[in-house]
Amino acid sequence: MEETRLSMYQSYKEMLTSYIKSKSEHALYSAQQFSKEMMEKDMSPEEMVSLHLSVFKEIVDELPEEVIASFDLLLEVMIGYGLAHQEHLSLRDRQRQLDSELDVAARMQKSLLPNEQIEVDAVDLGVVSVPAGKMSGDYYHYLSDEHGNIGIAVADVIGKGVPAAMCMSMIKYAMDSLPEQRLQPAALLENLNRVVARNIDSDMFITMVYGTYAPREHLFYYASAGHEPGFFYEAATNTFEDLKTKGLVLGVSPKVHYKEFSINMEPGDFIVLLSDGVTECRIHDHFLERSQISSLIGKYKHLPAQAIAENVFRELEKIQDFELKDDFTLLILRRNV
């Protein structure tokens, strides 16, 4: 430390001497680089001011006594800034530790989501889910059974961050314990609703949409618990239609009945499930229209489902200046044949 101090003293002395003589921008540039070095060595601002004074005293003979006195006062004020600086260093350490903790937790959370490809030729499935922060309050799900039936879901915990993530993991464990309802969207939501109502404070809500596709019937069945409506794309007419939704959000009341809807899918038709992080994408002071979202999806409809989702995300991320305001989840399921 003493050595550092000495070399700091030397460099600063050279800079100050040179600057007083030449007033060159080069000396100021060095000073800026020097400040980075000081900070890397965790020197606080009052030490900087004190260093300045001692160098200055040495360079200028007979510094007026009031100049020196004035530095006493400046130093006194800078002690407060020094404390804030030290607080910053410890806050930074704490934040780093928390960040790495949240990274681990986010990895754990990610491991709760499906990550294998669906091996069903009849359909093409793509999904992008990106949290606004480290942890996500969005949840998605997909699964195929031995008959090629497919279940898909998107859920959104009202709220963000760690508490939302904890709710989300509850949804996952609850889904695990309901294997019998995987092909019955309304019954599944009714059961989940009971679990949520029992376990979660009344000020936490979860919206969810669950659907199944039966490849032999070409029918998509779905039910929604207050979730942001998805889209149905019909290839024949090249149009997007909102997925009808009715139904209370999960967790409000222990006994809720959900309505089931169905859609007939032709080859090339696709279903879009999403969270409101997609549709309530804010640009400056207004939100994108839902019709803007569907045309954005339409722009990439010739691509595989995964590529559509990725391209839409990339464009929306850019429009928002790379700062997501809410967790983003977009899931696309297309009938191939």
Binding site: E25, Y29, K36, E37, M39, E40, H88, F322, E323
Partner: protein
């Protein structure tokens, strides 16, 4: 009539020249000494980024006047370097005080009032930053 300056960056001398040009224009526009130093630091960081990551590029500095007649200084940093892969990550609030990359882009964003970034992999980066006179 608006003043425009272009500085080629391909050595540390270029960085110093860009700083000098920026400080001069900032003073002429009427910025106080703290803001002059802030603008200069922002230019310095932008130029240094070019020098370190793209090897060469340009810094353009000009006076701007908003529709409400407010004056400001606009700095544009352009290079044909490797581009930025994950802009979201680069703009994440790093920890300046831990050094390494220095103030970096989040620092520049803090020092100025407006900030935007355009980058394409293998095709270079363009960063525009404005500071308005208070």
């Amino acid at each position: 009539m608006q003043v425009q300056t272009h500085v080629d960056i391909q050595s540390e001398w270029g960085i110093v020249a860009a700083r000098q040009a920026g400080r001069k224009l900032a003073r002429e526009i009427g910025f106080g000494s703290v803001d002059q130093a802030r603008i200069t630091t922002a230019i310095s960081e932008l130029a240094r980024n070019i020098y370190l990551y793209a090897k060469k590029g340009q810094i353009h500095i000009e006076e701007v006047i908003a529709s409400n007649n407010r004056k400001g200084i606009k700095v544009i940093a352009v290079d044909k370097g490797p581009g930025i892969k994950d802009i979201r990550k680069v703009m994440e609030d790093g920890y300046t005080t831990s050094g390494g990359l220095g103030a970096g882009l989040p620092g520049v964003k803090r020092l100025m009032d407006e900030f935007s970034i355009d980058s394409e992999i293998n095709n270079g980066t363009k960063i525009t930053a404005i500071k308005w006179l208070r």
